[in-house]
Amino acid sequence: MNAGAALTLYVMSAATVLALVLAVVPLPAAWRRLPEWVGCIGIVATLAIAVVQWGDRQVAFAGELHIDRFSLLLTWIILPAALAVILFSWGEPAAAGRRAEFVGLVLAAATGMMLTVMSGDLITLFIGIELLSVALYVLCAIEVARARSLESGIKYLITGSIGTAILIYGFALLYGVTGTTSLDGVTARLATIDGMASDPLLIAAIVLIVVALGFKASAVPFHMWTPDVYQGAPTPVTAFMGTGTKAAAMGAFLLLFTGATQQVSGDWRALIGALAVVTMVVGNVGALMQQNVKRMLAWSSIAQAGYLLIGVAVGTTAGAEALIYYLFAYVAMTLAAFAIVILREREVESGDTLGAFTGFGRARPWAGVVMTITLLGLAGFPPLAGFIGKFLLFGSAVDAGMSWLAIVGALASVVSVVYYLRVVIVMWSQAPDGQRTARRVRVPASVAAVAVAGAAAIIALAIWAQPMLDLCADAARALTIP
């Protein structure tokens, strides 16, 4: 037992508790930013520990937690996303009365995401997913005075609970088949029992788990909640759901499929492949119809989940490597895109509609450039990181003999070009006269910093793709070799 290995979780939990305590303690006006500072310092400290810990697998709590290259690398994705969310809401008027709760819940959700990807046991995995979900239910509804925010929270609560119920059912069946809840134990049992592959109980377990994680990753046909919830939730929370939750769900997919049930990959490869295909097609076509940028980004996040699922469906470490690289790129792109949406929202009424972006690029060229880079990256234009990620994902599909995934992915990407570039066109076109007089607020430095950092990351991930891929390859190997 090596309880010290879970130091990252202790720090995050401590920061969470501290932030929540600050919610009930009356703070002097000069200290009103204290919760945010607690959150930022907690996250940065955890990130520093996660960087220092990089190395071979350490096990904590009798195999309940695996601190290895895989979980640490995904932590490097989750924590910057959480930091960005706190920076997004820095001094935001809507969250003014509930700063501490907001920060505390973001930290709790991030802790849940970390717990999910660090889990070495079905129970820990489930607790991680529950923790992140429950925190996010509340975060969605945190703007209690706004009906849409409440609606979003309720919708997410209901669909999320169904997903959780299905997940625990699937885990129960998997336990029934293998007689163990430990992920390593599942692998070992599946390897020793012959004829396990066609066991109907195992197949039922796999189907249920895929469905449940499909809910969390908003894969089609379990995506119905996504556009409404994303649109209704406060935009920083939406950004967190689009990035952190997606990373945690994909991490769970990798742990359970590419990792634990690798032996019976014949049972689930086609299933997840089909899920990826439907998700790519429906997500992209759905995004095509949207007139609201937040809603468009929600649909695009569905479509992106489809590309990510290719990396799971192929069932190889090459696929996992490509998936993790693309997660980094995707999170950078999504955070930058949401940063720009938040800026626009603060500037004009209903700033998340497509029309509100007319002429935004001309008014604020730097924001226009960031958004252009981001959307081109999301559309997969070379030489940006989004392109390299897609290239690797398609490559892993062809390599695994699933070229049809690559072909559908390519055709779906063509569709995505239309809606991503539509925003670019609108942004750089002439603003109608009425809008030129719209109030111009000072750009919040924290949001601008996230936007610029995201765009820089999109370019940096492309230039230094090789060192990044080395890390991703190490992480992917950690999935199968303990």
Binding site: L376, G380, F381, P382, P383, F387, I388, F391, L392, F394, G395, V398, D399, S403, A406, I407, A410, L411, S413, V414, V417, V418, L421, R422, I425, W428, S429, A465, Q466, L469, D470, A473
Partner: protein, 517 residues
């Protein structure tokens, strides 16, 4: 010195400098853009001076690993097929920048110039890429500046035109990306490591079915970009809606991307698949020749006329490449250069006419020769070159292509001849309709449409190049010979053509004879 990388970086850096200039600094922007484009021209001349015309393979290669794990690298070089395209690109972009500076848009002119330089960097990268992934990177890279130029400065229907352009191109290119990935992974069985270097892939034998499928994936992207009939749907909208400077660049340079890819990548890497696709592609090219000519004949505006004539001319070039013949392939390379120069000149004339008369409609113009005699002379000259009159530069290229095609498939040559005849019909219609007959559409006999000294700066170099190629075509063809021979040789072997037709084998045989006595 890594001259080729420098050649690509010059326009890229220029574009960045221009992007950060304040919008007021229009004078500075002009200076920067002109300097950048002339520096790129100078770099391309250095590359040309260092070029060894006896070497068939890629030379002056700059290699830098980018993502070794995925077999992707920065690998640029030049060979006989690309050397003239580089010079064509830098020359046409110098002229394009001059034109853009002369009539710089009032709105954000600095960004306009910046995007033009960005497009130049993309095209130069495409013509020098030695790695398939890099080839794809530049293939897509150049799309963005062109699309933004159309969206921001195009005609009234610019938004849908730009979107049509992007979507059409992306459909082909993303499937090409899948084909590229598949090529690299299938080749890995043979080479033992993942590599996308074209020179590695050329050595890989594919089985016939695989090669056909992969070549088809590439062909779709090339066919849309060229455009080959029936994939030309984007061309009329884009050519007529783009700012005319951009139309010049699209027609003169970007339209060569597809045919260059076919000769540089498609045919040499997948010779085994050529046999199955030869006749279908040749038929598409032949239909394109006839169809483009017919559309050009009835085109309402001068811009569309020249645009449709491009479809016909590029059909000729595709035909020259796909019949797999040394002479035809050399003719195709020569014709790429010829078409670039002639199309640029023709669009410059359209620009001058449109500026002087305010319209591009052929039917609303007439009798301008009286008031604009200098323009009429230049126009007549360009017309003669475009219809490939014997003694003109295009005649040499078409003669090479038709000669080679006739050797392989005589019936194709007969059909293609019809296209040559039609070229005379539509080009003379445009010249006669606007220059001869009773004056129409202008007040003072067309003085306003006369070529000025500023126009001559652009038009005269193009005409001088036409004269040069017409008088001395060998100077263009000769440096391309080794590389085109090498490019078509594997396909010739796969098609079991007689050994005396295969340039590479013949050179080896003659080398034997030299050694024997």
């Amino acid at each position: 010195m890594p001259w080729i990388s420098i050649l690509i970086l010059i326009p890229l850096v220029t574009a960045l400098v221009l992007a950060f200039l304040p919008a007021r600094e229009r004078r500075t922007a002009r200076g920067v853009a002109l300097t950048g484009s002339f520096l790129a021209l100078a770099a391309s001349i250095v590359v040309f001076a260092l070029f060894d015309r006896d070497l068939a393979v890629l030379q002056q290669v700059d290699h830098l690993d980018w993502i070794p794990a995925a077999g992707v690298s920065w690998d640029v070089g030049v060979d006989g097929i690309s050397i003239w395209l580089l010079l064509l690109t830098t020359v046409v972009f110098v002229l394009g920048v001059i034109l853009a500076c002369q009539r710089l848009p009032q709105q954000r002119g600095t960004i306009f110039l910046s995007l033009i330089m960005l497009a130049e960097a993309g095209l130069l990268g495409l013509f020098t890429a030695g790695d398939l992934v890099l080839f794809y990177v530049f293939w897509e890279f150049m799309l963005i500046p062109f699309a933004l130029l159309i969206w921001n400065w195009g005609g009234s229907d610019r938004r849908s035109a730009g979107m049509v352009f992007v979507v059409y191109t992306m459909v082909g290119s993303l499937l090409m990306l899948v084909a590229i990935v598949a090529t690299g992974i299938i080749a890995m069985d043979h080479t033992g490591q993942l590599s996308f270097l074209i020179r590695d892939l050329v050595a890989v034998p594919f089985d016939e079915g695989t090669a056909t499928l992969l070549l088809a994936g590439f062909l779709l992207a090339f066919a849309i970009k060229i455009p080959l009939w029936p994939f030309h749907g984007w061309l009329p909208r884009v050519y007529s809606q783009a700012p005319i400077v951009v139309t010049i660049l699209l027609a003169a340079v970007m339209s060569k991307a597809g045919v260059y890819g076919l000769l540089r990548v498609g045919i040499p890497v997948f010779p085994e698949g050529v046999g199955n696709l030869l006749i279908p592609v040749a038929i598409l090219a032949l239909v394109g020749i006839a169809y483009g000519a017919l559309l050009a004949w009835r085109a309402p505006t001068m811009r569309l006329l020249v645009g449709y004539s491009s479809v016909a001319h590029l059909g000729f070039i595709v035909l020259g490449i796909i019949v797999i013949d040394r002479m035809a392939a050399q003719g195709a390379v020569l014709q790429m250069i010829n078409h670039g120069i002639v199309a640029a000149a023709a669009f410059v004339i359209v620009l001058i006419l449109a500026r002087g008369t305010g319209t591009e409609d052929i039917d609303r113009l007439g009798g301008l020769a009286k008031g604009a005699p200098r323009l009429a002379v230049a126009f007549l000259f360009v017309t003669m070159a475009a219809l490939a009159l014997p003694g003109s530069n295009a005649f040499v290229g078409e003669f090479f292509i038709l000669g080679g095609v006739f050797d392989q498939y005589a019936w194709m040559a007969v059909i293609a001849m019809v296209g040559v005849i039609f070229a005379a019909v539509y080009m003379l219609r445009m010249y006669q309709g606007t220059m001869n007959g009773p004056p129409r559409g202008v007040q003072d006999e067309g003085h306003a449409a006369e070529m000025t000294g500023r126009d001559a700066i652009v038009l005269v170099p193009l005409i001088l190049m036409m004269v040069w190629i017409a008088v001395w075509p060998g100077s263009i063809v000769e440096p391309t010979r080794a590389s085109t021979d090498l490019a078509v040789a594997p396909a010739q072997i796969a098609l079991e053509r007689p050994p005396d037709q295969i340039g590479v084998l013949r050179d080896m045989a003659s080398a034997d004879e030299v050694q024997r006595p």
